[in-house]
Amino acid sequence: MQAWRVGGELGSFCMLRLSERFTSSCHGAGFLFLILALVLPAPAALADDVSLDIPIQYETLDNGLRVVLSPDDTVPTVTVGLYFGIGFRSEPPGRTGYAHLFEHLYFAGAELRGDIPFDAIIAQTGGNSSAYTRFDFTRYISTVPSNALDMILWAEADRMSAPLLTDRHITTHRNTVRNEIFLNVENQPYQGWPLIDLPMTAFENWHNSHNFYGDLSDLDAATAEDARAFFRQYYTPNNAVLVIAGDFDAETVRTRIRDWFGPIPSGPPLPELDVSEPEQTAERRRDLVYPNASQPGIAVGYHMPPRGTPEYYAMMLIDMILISGDDARMQRLVASEGFGSRVSGSINALGNAYNYQGPMLWEYNIVHPETVNSDDVLDLLEGEIARLREELVSPDEIARARAKRLVEFYISIDDPSTRDGIVDLLASFALFDDDPTRINRIEEGIEHVTPELIRETARTYLSPHQRSVVVAIPGSGEEGGE
């Protein structure tokens, strides 16, 4: 009854500039789409092949709504992703967990459909819908049979125009959110370790370091007027990206979007937001007790280089070299030590290496037998990082890292049915960069990583004084985890 024993996160991507985040990029009147044939360059291993050719049509409406169309009729379904540039990083102080609470509220009702839940409307078509909140965005995604595209566009336009946000809706959804927190955190053996506890340790700026699930007292204090103000500020066309991927007629869809989303008025400018982190000069560490856990663990985070830089791509390969796959250094180390568990980790543990904007962690963690001291485990694994700072990786090792990163990318987008990965990438690039074609330059960045760059990146970003550590201590004690 074993779970799959291989780790390695599924990648997708994004390279973003902070300055563009809140730009409402109106490209003049009309609805002229740029037709872009997006061709992913052949990786080195497939030198003679052009592997992918994803069609993209991109335009920005007069009200600032960015629209990405990606037709593909392989399967008779269509996926609609709506991303808003509001995540838990940007929620206002005193409103912890609010971005996430609002995500739930947004399903509750809208003027035309009334109290019938959004997902019930979608389900009646045979589709499904879901949503999640991350550091820098809240996303809503639905997949429906191709003949139901009108229904989903109408339902999205309905709630984007006039959602029902009453105290009654808040009460119900607050209860659901509380249960979500109980399920995912409070009633789990390791509670908020490491996904919540590590960022709270590693970051100093409140925007990055607060409990994004929210303090229950903040959630309890939420009112309908708060929700309406939040909606007016953040759920605006100029802070949103609409992606449609799958089996549809592009001309018809353009008309629908122009008619149904075009009239939604732009919102106010977005508030100034400083998410920058001070430079870390000393190790940060917390030892936290988790009463329901039975084994100790360590979680370690380092600050990522700015996105899009050569060092950022080097970190992608360092992630592969150290953690991803059985051949990764840390996996081999813990296997040879016989710990019986694997090292987990990734860039942006709550998303992927591409769908964030701002300070971010590369992290790793392991639950280990109680017969081994956590500090010894930390020293052992950090020894591999020290090696990266001192020695050049071999050509074979960097080739393996590139191949693994490439396969992870392919896995993440290889779904002609629901297209979750492709929609995520296109939306992220459009939202943060106003340029979904950035998808095309990721492999180039990875290809240019050299052993020297990896060593330099490790020396610059992976020194002991730059790390943050949260040690999970099992059993009862004074201090509980977050």
């Binding site: 799959w4 035309l112 045979g126 049979p145 003949n147 009239p263 084994q295 019986g340 693994k404 290889d414």
Partner: protein, 483 residues
């Protein structure tokens, strides 16, 4: 902690049935519309039947030794996903809980004269890794690699499945891995609950009776036990390979023949059944201070090969929609779900959930009322078939679930056209068929209910629920003591 499911929704067509029991949701009267959406039509007509979609092309080749290879050329990227599935799992362990897990873990420690490090590097160079897993009735060895490495990856997988070296110096590491896994299961309320369900679904001498092995069990297994398990339960006749993605079919078939043709057919499947049994029991596990109650409510059903299987699936969807809709309407829980576990010789329908402690009794009252209701009045099934067929198309159109669908068909020896005729089978189910099934199978005396939670808060209320008055109650203290 899994945050990826944040806000996944469950509003299934069964919401229609829900409205018969609780206050129905209403659309806004047109006269109350604001100007904000004046540009939108007041409503959209239903889209009509789901567009058709043929199951993607796939074919199967059988070697002389009984090994089967299914080719599924479906995928958008130049990668190939190879899964070697062997009909060997927990059901073959007898009383030796998780001996199959330990065997598979030990198999991954070295094969064909290569060390685990060498195997890891070889797969890594192809962009992949060796994955292995064990479930109730099968073991899977798999890798996902760049397409051009398909034949090479297949050969490597063959070494692991056929010629594990079981290096003695790595055996303790494999054992520790399985001990760690068992420990992680023991900590989780969902796993504690599932383990309790199995106490009532299977007799004491069945391999599934014990879900999580004790540490003593795991430390007692020897390398000899592991070798014997491999010898007795692995062989070409019990193996099915699935190759999915973009690949050169001729080259892959040649590689498969080269790697597997001379493997012995091996022992036949012993054919042990695992049909869930009737419980008529409520098992409460104390987890003092727990903010939620983890619930498993389950009823035995006929198996996937029964004529009623399509109607059972419809029943699950309708019931699931109704229950999930109620939970989300009230905020009692975040991730309610229902599902059918198809097993060898039978099945079980299950509602599982995590309900906040304060509302546990009220929520269970509602759930049991809805189940009672389903036996007395037809639940609305309008739209259910289209919903199910749509979900089926999404599943068969997606690369990773397509192979799962095909493997499911094969695992239960279902007709070769099972996937092609699924939509028609579902469309033929009517609400009276569902009503009859609910009457036969969702009766109070057939349930097994397990709840892991803070019993000080919930036990008295649960014991007083009318629908549970005929059931035997078992209380399990936090230290494991049973009453």
């Amino acid at each position: 902690m899994d945050l990826t499911g944040l806000c996944t929704r469950f509003a299934l067509p069964g919401l229609l049935a829900l409205s018969a029991l609780f206050a129905p949701a209403q659309a806004q009267p047109e006269s109350e519309r604001s100007a904000a959406n004046a540009h939108l039509p007041p409503r959209i007509e239903p889209p009509g039947p789901v567009p058709g979609f043929a199951t993607p092309n796939n074919w199967t080749v059988e070697l002389d030794n009984g090994l089967k290879i299914t080719f599924i050329p479906w995928g958008m990227t130049p990668t190939v996903d190879i899964r070697v599935v062997v009909r060997a799992g927990n059901i073959d362990e007898g009383q030796n809980t998780w001996l199959s897990d330990l065997t598979v873990e030990a198999m991954a420690q070295g094969a064909g004269g290569r060390s685990d490090d060498e195997i890891a590097e070889a797969f890594g160079a192809m962009g992949g890794s060796l994955s292995s897993s064990v479930v109730t009735d099968r073991s899977t060895f798999a890798s996902f690699v760049l397409a051009e490495h398909g034949p090479e990856a297949l050969a490597l997988l063959a070494e692991t499945v056929r010629e594990p070296d079981f290096p003695p110096e790595r055996f303790e590491a494999a054992r520790t891995t399985i001990i760690q896994l068992a420990e992680s299961w023991r900590q989780q309320p969902a796993m504690q609950g599932m383990a309790a369900v199995n106490l009532y679904q299977h007799p004491e001498d069945h391999p599934f009776y014990r879900t999580i092995p004790t540490r003593e069990q795991l430390t007692g297994y020897s390398l000899r036990d592991v070798r014997r398990f491999h010898r007795r339960h692995f062989g070409a006749g019990r193996t099915h390979i699935y190759i999915t993605g973009q690949f050169d079919a001729d080259a892959m078939e040649a590689a498969a023949r080269e790697a597997f043709s001379d493997w012995e057919r091996g022992p036949a499947d012993e054919g042990i059944d695992a049909a869930p049994q009737v419980g008529n029991v409520v098992h409460l596990i104390d987890r003092p201070g727990a903010p939620q109650s983890t619930v498993f409510l389950t009823y035995p059903l006929p198996g996937i090969d029964s004529k009623t299987a399509p109607a059972l699936e419809v029943m699950d969807v309708v019931m699931g929609g109704m229950i999930a809709g109620r939970m989300l309407d009230t905020g009692y829980s975040y991730a309610p779900q229902t599902y059918i576990d198809w097993a060898r010789g039978g099945a079980a329908w299950t509602y599982s959930d995590d309900i906040d402690t304060a509302n546990t009794v009220a929520a269970m009252q509602d759930v049991l009322t809805m189940i009672d209701y389903s036996r007395f009045r037809p639940l609305g099934t309008e739209g259910v078939a289209d919903w199910m067929i749509s979900r089926f198309i999404m599943s068969t159109g997606a690369r990773f679930s397509l192979v799962g669908q095909i493997a499911f068909r094969n695992a239960f020896d279902l007709p070769i056209d099972y996937l092609d005729t699924y939509a028609d089978q579902i469309r033929r189910v009517d609400e009276h068929a569902v009503l009859n099934l609910a009457r036969e199978y969702l009766t109070r005396d057939r349930l097994t209910l397990v709840i892991v939670g803070d019993l000080d808060q919930i036990e008295a209320g649960l014991r007083a629920l009318p629908a549970l008055q005929g059931a035997r109650f078992v209380r399990q203290d936090a230290d494991g003591t049973l009453h």
